[in-house]
């Protein structure tokens, strides 16, 4: 039970904060703040949507001040536009501007939005092309794309399982190290992608916050799950541990691939990449390594796992399937904030499972963590994924 004193100590700082807030708002800012600073106006152009003869500009007010949109120029020419509501944007308010503009396929366009006080906001359409609309053709294209770059390669990777299981037992540790190498690379890759996206999103969305939230949410959730599994005594069975690892790796890689899918889908829909066969093949080979990462922990205790085939297919689906979802979301409605969140979760999951495997290897009796086998395995993992990455240059 909370006594009165305790309650007071809990509430007092909050009360004080409100009192300060009241003083601040009713008597005005004090001293240094009291300057007539110019307005900080920010309009963030989220994306362009193109239809033949029409450009839609999706914008959000990214600043603390209200902004009035007065004029727009396209390639140094004033152009009439339509707004779906009024042209006044409150902070964080989103809107769409419609321009009847005779754009030409493949050309770049520089768009300047003028606020009422002459502040300008620039945006660029790098390659003008019709934005895909959600229809059967595009749906099929994106599903196909997702299957190609996500699901197939991972299943191919899983097909190495029969080969890997026949390897000598001491290769098991090599494979585990290889997996850690692969995961470490993927983890950093995912984080880097997330940081890159933060630079492209409205500042007011606080991208770093989203990243930190997603990253630790993943680590903490997975840790709590594996703790629960351990407390059920599953730890006694080695094969349960292997299975748990397999699924966790699949989840981490799945989220990574969701982010990858988002990137591919959105790049494709705005005409940034023409997905040539070389690029698709590159992605496939690159992602095959992800399949290896999933099966490696299973090579030791697979005999005791029931319904192994179902587990493998499930893992393949978990790891590869999100690519399809990603390309679909990315292709039809791209949100940087959501992408950052998923990428952060992916990175967290990947690092969590990599650390888990590492920890387990270190606990192994009579084994040093840094044997030649392990170190070579780790480097092999890094190198394989790095080198296959060159195939994805587009």
């Amino acid at each position: 039970m909370m006594n009165k004193k305790m309650l007071f100590t809990a509430v007092f700082p909050i009360f004080l904060l409100f009192a300060l807030f009241f003083i601040f708002t009713s008597y005005g800012p004090i001293g240094v703040f009291k300057t007539d600073l110019p307005q900080v106006e920010k309009i963030f152009i989220e994306r362009f949507e193109l239809e033949p003869g029409i450009i839609y500009i999706h914008i959000v007010n990214d600043g603390p001040e209200q902004v009035t949109i007065s004029q727009i120029t396209v390639n140094e020419m004033f152009w009439n536009f339509e707004m779906f509501e009024d042209n006044i944007f409150k902070p964080l308010e989103r809107g769409v501007l419609k321009l009847n503009y005779p754009w030409v396929e493949g050309d770049p366009y520089r768009i300047v939005i003028f606020a009422s006080d002459g502040v300008t906001f620039d945006g660029e359409i790098e390659v003008a092309t019709s934005t895909p609309k959600f229809n059967w053709i595009y749906f099929k294209s994106f599903v196909m794309l997702g299957l190609y770059v996500g699901v197939i390669p991972i299943l191919v990777g899983l097909l190495w399982f029969p080969f890997l299981r026949r390897l000598n037992r001491r290769w098991y540790y090599f494979l585990l190290s290889l997996t850690i190498g692969l995961l470490a690379f993927l983890g950093f890759d995912t984080l880097a992608e997330a940081f890159g996206l933060i630079g492209e999103m409205p500042q007011s969305y606080n991208g770093v916050g989203i990243l930190v939230l997603g990253f630790f949410l993943a680590i903490l959730t997975l840790s709590a799950i594996s703790h629960k599994i351990k407390s059920f005594g599953a730890e006694k069975n080695e094969h349960h541990k292997s299975l748990t690892w397999g699924y966790f790796i699949a989840i981490g890689i799945g989220l990574h691939n969701l982010g990858e899918g988002l990137a591919i889908g959105s790049a494709y829909s705005i005409g940034e990449i023409a997905l040539g066969s070389a690029l698709v093949v590159g992605f496939m080979i690159h992602n095959v390594t992800e399949g290896i990462a999933i099966v490696a922990p299973l090579t030791k205790n697979y005999e005791r796992i029931k319904h192994l085939i179902i587990h493998l297919i499930a893992m393949g689906g978990i790891a590869g399937g999100p690519t399809i979802i990603g390309t679909l979301i990315g292709g039809f409605s791209y949100s940087t904030a959501l992408s950052v969140f998923f990428l952060a979760i992916g990175a967290g999951a990947i690092f969590d499972v990599a650390f888990d495997i590492l920890y387990s290897m270190a606990k192994e009796k009579g084994q040093s963590l840094f044997t030649i086998t392990n170190v070579l395995g780790f480097f092999a993992g890094l190198l394989v994924i790095y080198l296959t990455g060159f195939l994805v240059l587009g």
Binding site: E51, P52, G53, I54, T68, S70, Q71, I72, T73, E76, M77, F78, W79, N80, F81, N87, L99, N100, Y101, P102, E105, V112, F114, S116, D117, G118, V119, T120, T129, S130, P132, I137, Y138, K140, S141, V143, M144, L147, Y148, V151, I152, L155, V156, L158, L159, F161, P162, R165, Y268, S269, G271, A274, Y302, E303, L308, I309, L312, I313
Partner: protein, 368 residues
């Protein structure tokens, strides 16, 4: 050994199932791909022709959509832009109001003493519909009031700096060192709240300009401290014009990045598109054109379906050119005489077409 024998078939089943699954997926692809490539020619994401869209109508809509959005307010530039065209020596004001800014006195030699009261004022102007620019102005208007005298008249300008920066009136024409409007108060550059009287003989005849010469001069001119100064010849042998228009080509760097975003004649983008300048078929139209554009090296004037006699700087009584485009550097000006042959609406604009599409476009409406 026995144990292994037992497990191996299970693995084989697993492997077999995986391969079967793989094959099914592969076949699904082939189906998807074939379906896709069959329609690919017309439905691919990059195809240009799609029956869903009426291209001719879209193009027609697009062609009608150029230009600025909306309308400017009543007092956008401190003077009605149509009125500005035909206003000099404050002749748009009622007599008692006019006397506050302009006074004529006949001198003994028959010439006139023309006195002007001009104030530097900071105020916001609307240079395109909805875009407001913090300008520095003469008498609250951009371009400043047009000063017009006859060759030999005495021009006396009472200048009061009501702005927040140093300002002056620097006129193009003959005058003494003290009337130049540069450097210091001895030469007529004033600090805020100071005042000064510029006095000089109106010469030579021609169409000239005046502007502030406070530094940086670029900014002082670009902010709006510029205007036209016309000196009529004492003995004019040119044909007498039916209509006279004052046009000052200028532009505005609304985001202060050192480049103009908006171009215009008489300060407001596309103003004479919305309100065409009315003239009569066959009458002689005389334009006093000056270029007060900053940041860009050149500007130009072009009129449709017509040619004009050009008197560069207006300093001679015979035209030098008969043309339909004139190109001007910063501060240059000309007198253009033209007659419209046919009725209708005819565009005039900078033939630096980028400027035209950023606001420097207008129309003449030729009536019977």
């Amino acid at each position: 050994m026995k144990n292994k024998m037992k497990k191996t078939p299970k693995i084989k089943i697993a492997l077999g199932s995986l391969i079967v699954l793989f094959l099914i997926l592969f076949i699904a692809f082939i189906v998807l791909i074939s379906d896709y490539s069959e329609k690919g020619a017309t439905n691919s994401p990059y195809s240009k022709v799609d029956s869903e869209f009426d291209y001719a109508k879209l193009e027609a809509t697009a062609q009608m959509s150029g230009g600025a959005q909306g309308f400017v307010g009543e007092d956008a530039i401190g003077i009605n832009p149509t009125e500005f065209l035909t206003t000099w020596n404050f002749n748009n004001l009622p007599t008692d109001e006019r006397s506050k800014y302009y006074k004529e006195t006949r001198l003994g030699d028959g010439t006139l003493l023309r006195e002007y009261w001009i104030y530097a004022i900071d105020r916001e102007i609307e240079v395109a519909p909805g875009i407001f620019y913090p300008a520095w102005t003469y008498n609250g208007q951009v371009p400043g009031p047009t000063i017009r005298a006859t060759e030999g008249d005495t021009v006396r300008i009472h200048f009061i700096n009501g702005g927040t920066k140093s300002h002056s009136i620097h006129t193009h024409g003959f005058h003494t060192n003290a009337m130049d409007g540069v450097m210091s108060q001895e030469q007529g550059l004033l600090l805020p709240d100071e005042s000064y009287v510029y006095e000089f003989k109106a010469e030579p005849f021609g169409t000239h300009v005046y502007h502030c010469h406070g530094i940086p001069v670029t900014e002082h001119i670009a902010r709006g401290l510029h205007g036209a100064y016309i000196v009529d010849p004492l003995k004019d042998t040119r044909p007498k014009p039916d209509k006279e228009f004052v046009m000052v080509m200028n532009g505005f760097d609304v985001n202060f990045d050192g480049e103009n975003e908006i171009y215009a004649v008489n300060s407001i983008a596309f103003e004479y598109v919305r309100n065409p300048i009315k003239v009569k078929q066959g009458e002689l139209v005389r334009i006093y054109l000056s270029n007060m554009l900053e940041f860009d090296a050149i500007n130009s004037f072009h009129v449709h379906a017509n040619f004009f006699e050009e008197y560069p700087t207006g300093t001679k009584l015979e035209p030098d050119f008969f043309t339909d485009i004139t190109v001007m550097g910063q501060g240059e000006r000309s007198i253009l005489d033209m007659r419209f042959k046919y009725q209708g609406k005819y565009m005039f604009h900078a033939h630096k077409t980028e400027f035209a599409e950023l606001g420097w476009t207008g129309f003449f409406e030729v009536e019977e």
